[in-house]
C-alpha cells in the first residue's frame, strides 16, 4: 500500500514538472518589437552581402511531401547557386519524426558546417541541438514555423499578419458586416494560434461589423474541414465568409460551399499551387501567400550576413501578400517587389 | 475432530441456470475428502464459491466454524488460508519457479524484491515436498507434474491449511501421480485438510477418507470410502448402474479394406518413420507415454502440422502432403477430436449450435446459397437428443457446458460431417464415468456404421478395452503393433511404450 502512494506522488511530481517546463520561456517572433523586414535590413546594413571564402551551410527541414517545403528547398538551391555557397538540405521523411530531425542537425554540427538554418518540427525538438551548435560556436537561424526559443535569429513570415491581412480583405469585400467562421488547424499550434489571433484582433481593433459566429478545429485535414463547413452552412445560413488556417482546409471548405452554391467567401493561408489554380478557376476567393521560395533566400542572405559579422536583428520578417483574383496572374516577384540578393566575393 | 469447511444451504444461479440447489455438507479437518459427481454436477462451482472466484451466492460458508465470504481468490488465500490447485495450473512461463510461487506476495527489502529470501523460502518448501527442481529454475522448463507441485508449493507458501485439488492428475505421468499421492499423504499427516476432485475412481480409493457425492447441482450423500465399493460409488454419482470400464459389446467389425495408410511418416514436430494401416470398421488404439509422438503424428495426418517425409494414402489414393491442410483433410473424409478441448476443441464465444455446425456449413445453405440458422439449429437439436447432451440448450455457449458435454458437442460436430475416419485424442480426459460410457457406446455405433476410428489414449484400461489393434509408440517411433489377444498385461504394454 505504502509503495503505491509513493509511486503516485512521484507520478504527480513528474507531471507537474512537465507542465512547468512546457510553459517556460515562450518565444513569439510576431510580438518582437525589434523585428525588421528584409527591406529594412538591406537599407540598414547595405544591399551587398559579402561572401568570404566558400562556406558549407546546412538547412534542416520538414518532410518534402508538402509543397510548402518543396518551394523552400528550391529557394535554398537558388540561393546556393547565386552565392556560390554549398548548402546541404536535409529533410525528415515524415512530419512527426522529431528525434530524426534532431539527429540530422547534430550530424551537421558535428561535420563542422559554418551555420545551420533550421525549421523544427515542434517548438522543442531542436532546442538541445541548438545548444550543441552554440557550444561549437556555430550560428543557428530559425526559419519559420516551429519556434526555437534559444535561437539567436528568426526568419519567417509574421503569422499574426497573415490573419490581419485576411480579416482586412474580408471586411473590404463584405462592406464590413456579416457573420464569419474560422477553421483552425490544431496540432502544432503556433501558426494556428497566431493566424486566428491576428484575424480576431483585427476585427476587434477596427471595431469591425464582422461577427465571428464559429471557430472550430479541423486538424489541417481537407475532408474534415469540408465536413465542418457543411455543418456550419446548415447551422448558420447567414454566414458570409470562412477563414481557414491553411489552404488545404480552405480547399475542402470550397467544396462544401460549391455543393450548396452558397455565397460565402473562403480565404486560406500558405499560397500552395492548388490554391492558385482554385483562385484562377473562381472557386477559392483568396489566400495569404508567405512565399517560401523567397523565404529561404532571405534566410540564406541573413545567415551570410551573420557570418560576415554584421549585426542582424533577432527577428527578420519575410515577404507575404494576399492573393485574390485581381493579382493571381501577376508574378510573385512583382507582388512583393522582390530584389535579388547581391552577393560579393 | 472439528469441521474445517461447512456449506449451509448454498444456492447459485447463472444466467438461465440454477446450478447449485440448497447444498449443505461439511468437511472434517485433516481428512482427504473427495468431491464426486458427473460433469455438471456442480463440483467446480462449489469450489469456486469456497475460493472466492464467485463472490455472489446465497447461503453461508463456514471456515473452522466462522462465517466467511471472500470477494476474490487472493483474499481467500491470504485471509482464509485456503488455496486451490487448478485443473490447468496457471503459471507465468517467463518467470522463475520462485517468482511464480510468491507472485503478488514477494518478500521485499525496501522497494526491491528480496530474491535471496524468496529462493531460500521456496527451496525449503520444495525440499519438504521432495521436488527435484529448484526455485531458481524457469517455470517454462517444468513438466506438468512439476507445475502441479509448484502450485502446491504456492499453497504452502501462503501457509494454507485447506487445499483443493481439481483434477490434479489429468496430465500427469504415472510416476508423477505417485509422487503427488506421497505429498498428499504427507500434507494430511501435517493436519492439512484436502478437497480432492477427480474422475479417476482408483485414485479416490487410494487416498481419500470420505467422498461427497453431488448430482445435478444437488448434494446426494457423504460416503466413507473404506466402507464403500466401487459400484456403490458409481451408482451414487450417476444415479444408475453404469459400467465404467471400457469394453467392447460388439465383435470386431474390421474388414480387409485399408482406408488410411502411413508409410515412413516423418515431421518436425516429433515423429519419425511412422508406418501403420487403418482398416475399415476398425478401432485402432495408439498407446504411449506423454511425449511419444502420437498426437503429433495424428495432427500431421489431419493437416494441422507439417509432414516432411513419407507418404500417406487415403482409400488407396496418395495425399499431397506438401499442400495438405485441415480443410482438405475434412473434404477427404478425416476428422480429429483434439486432446485439449478448451484451447483446441471449441470456439469460446460460440454457441453449441455454431460449434457443431462449423465443419459442415455447406449442409445448412438454403436455395440461394445463404446459411440458414434454422437448419443449423435443427441439426444441433438432433444431436443434443441423440447424444443426450445436458443441459439441452443448443443456444448456450459451449464454454459454459461441463467437460463431458463439451466433448459430446465436439463429437456432434464430426458426426454432422461426412467424414468416415475419426481420430479421438484422449477422448475421455476430464470426462465423468457416465459420459465416458456413452462415448464408448458412440464409438461402437460409428464402426457399426462403417466408419473407422483411431483412439489415442494414455489410459491403459481404455485403450486395451476398446481397440481391435494397438500401436505402441515411444519417442516418435512405432515400437509395437499388437493384435487383440496379444496385449498381455499392463506391465508388458508399459515395457513396449518405454522402448521394448
Amino acid at each position: 500500500m505504502k509503495r503505491s502512494y509513493t509511486a503516485l506522488i512521484l507520478a504527480v511530481l513528474a507531471v507537474m514538472a512537465l507542465v512547468f517546463t512546457a510553459y517556460a520561456d515562450e518565444f513569439n517572433p510576431d510580438a518582437d518589437p525589434s523585428a525588421k523586414t528584409i527591406e529594412q535590413v538591406r537599407a540598414e546594413l547595405g544591399a551587398e552581402v559579402p561572401v568570404k571564402d566558400v562556406h558549407n551551410l546546412s538547412a534542416i527541414m520538414k518532410s518534402i511531401s508538402n509543397e510548402f517545403w518543396r518551394s523552400l528547398k528550391e529557394g535554398y538551391d537558388l540561393a546556393a547557386k547565386n552565392s556560390g555557397v554549398n548548402i546541404r538540405v536535409d529533410a525528415t521523411t515524415d512530419e512527426g519524426d522529431e528525434i530524426g530531425q534532431q539527429t540530422m542537425m547534430d550530424n551537421a554540427v558535428n561535420q563542422g558546417v559554418k551555420a545551420v538554418m533550421a525549421s523544427p518540427i515542434s517548438d522543442s525538438n531542436l532546442a538541445a541541438a541548438v545548444d550543441n551548435a552554440k557550444t561549437a560556436k556555430i550560428p543557428v537561424v530559425n526559419v519559420n514555423d516551429g519556434l526555437i526559443a534559444n535561437c539567436d535569429y528568426y526568419v519567417g513570415p509574421n503569422a499574426y499578419m497573415n490573419g490581419q491581412l485576411a480579416a482586412e480583405w474580408i471586411s473590404k469585400k463584405l462592406g464590413d458586416k456579416g457573420q464569419v467562421g474560422i477553421v483552425i488547424g490544431m496540432a502544432k499550434a503556433f501558426a494556428a494560434r497566431e493566424r486566428t489571433q491576428g484575424f480576431e484582433d483585427w476585427i476587434k481593433d477596427h471595431k469591425s461589423g464582422l461577427e465571428i459566429v464559429a471557430k472550430q478545429n479541423a486538424d489541417w485535414d481537407r475532408q474534415r474541414a469540408k465536413e465542418l463547413a457543411s455543418t456550419w452552412i446548415m447551422r448558420f445560413p447567414d454566414m458570409k465568409a470562412i477563414f481557414c488556417n491553411n489552404d488545404d482546409m480552405a480547399l475542402g471548405v470550397v467544396e462544401a460551399v460549391d455543393e450548396v452554391d452558397a455565397d460565402i467567401l473562403v480565404v486560406g493561408v500558405d499560397g500552395i499551387g492548388e490554391a492558385y489554380t482554385s483562385i484562377k478557376e473562381g472557386k477559392l476567393d483568396a489566400t495569404v501567400d508567405s512565399f517560401p521560395y523567397y523565404m529561404s533566400q532571405v534566410a540564406v542572405e541573413c545567415t551570410l550576413r551573420v557570418l560576415a559579422g554584421q549585426k542582424v536583428p533577432h527577428v527578420v520578417a519575410t515577404p507575404q501578400a494576399l492573393i485574390d483574383k485581381d493579382n493571381v496572374n501577376k508574378p510573385a516577384k512583382e507582388i512583393i517587389n522582390w530584389v535579388d540578393t547581391a552577393y560579393t566575393k | 475432530m472439528s469441521k474445517a469447511v461447512e456449506f449451509v444451504k448454498i444456492n447459485k444461479h447463472f444466467p438461465g441456470a440454477h446450478v447449485l440447489k440448497d447444498i449443505s455438507f461439511s468437511v472434517e479437518e485433516g481428512e482427504v475428502t473427495a468431491l464426486l459427481g458427473e460433469n455438471g454436477a456442480g463440483k467446480s462451482t462449489i469450489l469456486n464459491i469456497l475460493h472466492g472466484v464467485y463472490p455472489e451466492y446465497e447461503g453461508d460458508v463456514l471456515l473452522h466454524g466462522k462465517k466467511v465470504q471472500f470477494r476474490n481468490p487472493n483474499q481467500a488465500i491470504v485471509e482464509g488460508k485456503i488455496s486451490k490447485v487448478h485443473q490447468e495450473t496457471l503459471i507465468v512461463r517467463d518467470l522463475t519457479v520462485g517468482q511464480n510461487v510468491t507472485l503478488g506476495h514477494e518478500p521485499t527489502k525496501g522497494f526491491f524484491i528480496d530474491y535471496a529470501k524468496m529462493h531460500r523460502d521456496v527451496n525449503a518448501i520444495l525440499t519438504d515436498l521432495h521436488c527435484n527442481f529448484r526455485s531458481e529454475e524457469l517455470a517454462d522448463k517444468l513438466t506438468s507434474g512439476q507445475m502441479q507441485m509448484m502450485a502446491i508449493a504456492r499453497a504452502l507458501y501462503h501457509k494454507s491449511n485447506i487445499i483443493s485439488l481439481d483434477e490434479p492428475t489429468a496430465s500427469l505421468s504415472i510416476r508423477e501421480t505417485e509422487a503427488l499421492f506421497d505429498v498428499i499423504k504427507q500434507l494430511k499427516a501435517q493436519g492439512v485438510t484436502i478437497l480432492y476432485v477427480s474422475h479417476r475412481l482408483e485414485e479416490i480409493f487410494r487416498i481419500c477418507d470420505k467422498a461427497v457425492i453431488m448430482r445435478d447441482g444437488e448434494y446426494i450423500t457423504t460416503l466413507e470410502v473404506a466402507k464403500t465399493t466401487r459400484d456403490e460409488l458409481i451408482h451414487a454419482m450417476v444415479g444408475r448402474a453404469v459400467s465404467a470400464v471400457a469394453s467392447r459389446n460388439l465383435p470386431c467389425m474390421a474388414s480387409d479394406e485399408v482406408v488410411l495408410k502411413a508409410e515412413n511418416l516423418t515431421g518436425p514436430t516429433g515423429f519419425k518413420d511412422v508406418s501403420f494401416e487403418l482398416h475399415k470398421g476398425e478401432i485402432l488404439g495408439f498407446f504411449g507415454l506423454v511425449g511419444a509422438g502420437r498426437t503429433e503424428t495424428m495432427r500431421a495426418i489431419f493437416g494441422a502440422d507439417m509432414i516432411t517425409g513419407g507418404k500417406v494414402f487415403m482409400k488407396g489414393k496418395r495425399i499431397p502432403t506438401g499442400s495438405w491442410n485441415t480443410s482438405k483433410a475434412l473434404k477427404a473424409g478425416i476428422g480429429l477430436i483434439p486432446e485439449d478441448r478448451k484451447t483446441q476443441g471449441f470456439m469460446k464465444l460460440s454457441s453449441n449450435t455454431q460449434n457443431i455446425s462449423i465443419s459442415s456449413l455447406e449442409d445448412y445453405a438454403n436455395a440461394f446459397g445463404f446459411l440458414s440458422d434454422d437448419k443449423k439449429l435443427k441439426n444441433a437439436e438432433h444431436f443434443f437428443k441423440e447424444l443426450e447432451i445436458h443441459p439441452n440448450k443448443p443456444e448456450y455457449l459451449t464454454l459454459n457446458m461441463s467437460g463431458g458435454n463439451q466433448q459430446k458437442v465436439i463429437l456432434a460436430r464430426w458426426m454432422s460431417t461426412k467424414v468416415d475416419i475419426i481420430i479421438f485424442d484422449e477422448p475421455t480426459k476430464g470426462v465423468d464415468v457416465g459420459a465416458k460410457a456413452e462415448i464408448y457406446r458412440l464409438m461402437e455405433e460409428m464402426i457399426q456404421n462403417g466408419k473407422s476410428i483411431i483412439v489415442i489414449s494414455s489410459e491403459l484400461p481404455e485403450v486395451m478395452g476398446l481397440s481391435d489393434r494397438i500401436i505402441v509408440m515411444g519417442e516418435g517411433k512405432v515400437n509395437a503393433v499388437l493384435n487383440r489377444g496379444e496385449y498381455g498385461t499392463s506391465d508388458q504394454m508399459l515395457d513396449y511404450a518405454i522402448g521394448g
Binding site: I64, S65, N66, E67, R70, T93, D94, I184, M186, A214, K215, Q216, N217, D219, D221, R222, Q223, K226, E227, L228, S230, T231, M234, R235, D248, L251, G252, G273, E274, T277 | H13, F14, P15, G16, F302, N325, T326, S327, L330, K331, G335, L336, P338, T343, Q344, F346, M347, K348, L349, S350, Q354, S357, I358, S359, L361, E362, G369, F370, L371, R413
Partner: protein, 323 residues
C-alpha cells in the same frame, strides 16, 4: 423481433445512447434534429463507417489493419490519375478497388505467409503504402477530377441525399449478409475466436485471413473513391490517422478487439454515434480542445456498455430465478 433484440442487445444499447445524445443536442440547439442536419450526419459518417466496416474484418479474425488510411490515399491517387486522363470512370473505380484488394492481399500475405503479428505487419505496410503514395505523386496533389466521375458518388438522388450514402448502406448490407449468412462469415468468427480450434475443425485459416485483409483493403479503397468524389482531388497525405477513428467506431459497436465478435450493424451504429457526436459538438459550438476530451470519454464509456450489459443480464437472471 425478440430474437433480433436478443442477438443485437449491445448494438441496440449503443443506438439508444446515440438517440439520447441526439436528444441532448436538440435540447441545446433545436436545429439539430432538422432533416437537413440529419442528412449531414449521415454524410459525415460515410468515410469512417466504410473504413470501420473494413477494419472490423481484420479485427474479427483477431488481427488489425493499421494501413487502411494509406490504402485509402493510394486508391484516391490511382483513380484520380485515371479519371483525369479521361479513362472511363467505371473502369477507374474498378482499378481503384483492385488496388485496394492487392494492398489488402499483401497484408494477408505478411500475416499468414510470413506469420508476422498483424499489428507489426500493418505498421510496416502503413509506412510502406504511404511511401508509395508519395513516390507515385512526388508529393503533388492530383486535381481536376472530371464531374462525370464525381457525380457517380457525389451526385444527388431524391431529397438532396447524396449517392454515397446509398453506397455506404449497400456496403453495410453486403457485409451483414457475408458475416451472418455465408460460410466465410462463420469461418471468420471461428478463426478470431479460437484459431487452433477452427483449424482443427477443418477451417482453412490461411484463406480466411486472406479474405479478411482483402475485404479490409477493398473497403478502404471504396472509402478512398468516395473521398475523391467528395473533394475532387487526391493527396498523398489523405487519411492520416483515420485508422484510429475506424477502430473507435468498430469498438463502440461491440467489435471485440481480441477477435471473434463484431457485426455490421454494430459498426454502423458505432460510426453513427461518432458522427452524431462530431456534428453535435460543432452545432452547439463546443470548444475544439474540449471536443477531444468529450470524444475520448464517449469512446471509453461506450466500450464499457459491454460490462454493464453483462451486469444487467446477471441481475435479471437472479430476479427470474427468485420468482
Amino acid at each position: 423481433m425478440k430474437n433480433f433484440v436478443n442477438k443485437y442487445k449491445r448494438e441496440l444499447v449503443v443506438l439508444l445512447a446515440t438517440f439520447g445524445m441526439g436528444l441532448i443536442f436538440t435540447v441545446m440547439n433545436p436545429n439539430f434534429m432538422r432533416v437537413s442536419n440529419i442528412i449531414t450526419i449521415l454524410q459525415q459518417m460515410v468515410l469512417n463507417g466504410v473504413l470501420a466496416a473494413g477494419i472490423m474484418f481484420a479485427i474479427i479474425t483477431g488481427g488489425i489493419d493499421l494501413s487502411i488510411g494509406c490504402t485509402f490515399a493510394i486508391t484516391g491517387i490511382v483513380t484520380a490519375s485515371m479519371a483525369v486522363k479521361g479513362i472511363n470512370p467505371w473502369l477507374a473505380i474498378l482499378a481503384g478497388l483492385a488496388v485496394g484488394a492487392v494492398l489488402g492481399a499483401f497484408n494477408g500475405f505478411l500475416v499468414t505467409g510470413l506469420k508476422l503479428q498483424p499489428f507489426i505487419a500493418t505498421l510496416g505496410t502503413m509506412s510502406l503504402y504511404r511511401g508509395i503514395a508519395y513516390v507515385i505523386t512526388g508529393g503533388m496533389p492530383v486535381t481536376g477530377v472530371p464531374s462525370v466521375y464525381r457525380n457517380i458518388f457525389n451526385g444527388r438522388m431524391f431529397g438532396n441525399v447524396r449517392w454515397y450514402i446509398l453506397v455506404m448502406i449497400i456496403i453495410f448490407i453486403l457485409i451483414h449478409i457475408m458475416l451472418s449468412r455465408t460460410r466465410t462469415g462463420d469461418y471468420l468468427y471461428a478463426v478470431g475466436d479460437n484459431e487452433e480450434a477452427a483449424k482443427l475443425s477443418g477451417v482453412n485459416v490461411v484463406k480466411v485471413k486472406y479474405v479478411a485483409y482483402i475485404v479490409c483493403g477493398i473497403c478502404s479503397a471504396a472509402a478512398g473513391l468516395i473521398m475523391l468524389a467528395s473533394l475532387g482531388s487526391a493527396e498523398s497525405t489523405a487519411g492520416l490517422g483515420y485508422e484510429t477513428n475506424a477502430i473507435a467506431a468498430a469498438a463502440i459497436g461491440g467489435t471485440r478487439m481480441a477477435g471473434g465478435r463484431g457485426t455490421a450493424f454494430g459498426t454502423f451504429v458505432g460510426a453513427l454515434m461518432l458522427a452524431v457526436l462530431r456534428v453535435g459538438m460543432v452545432v452547439i459550438n463546443v470548444d475544439s480542445f474540449w471536443q477531444y476530451v468529450v470524444t475520448g470519454i464517449i469512446i471509453i464509456v461506450a466500450s464499457y456498455f459491454e460490462f454493464i450489459q453483462q451486469d444487467i443480464a446477471n441481475f435479471l437472471a437472479r430476479r427470474r430465478a427468485a420468482k
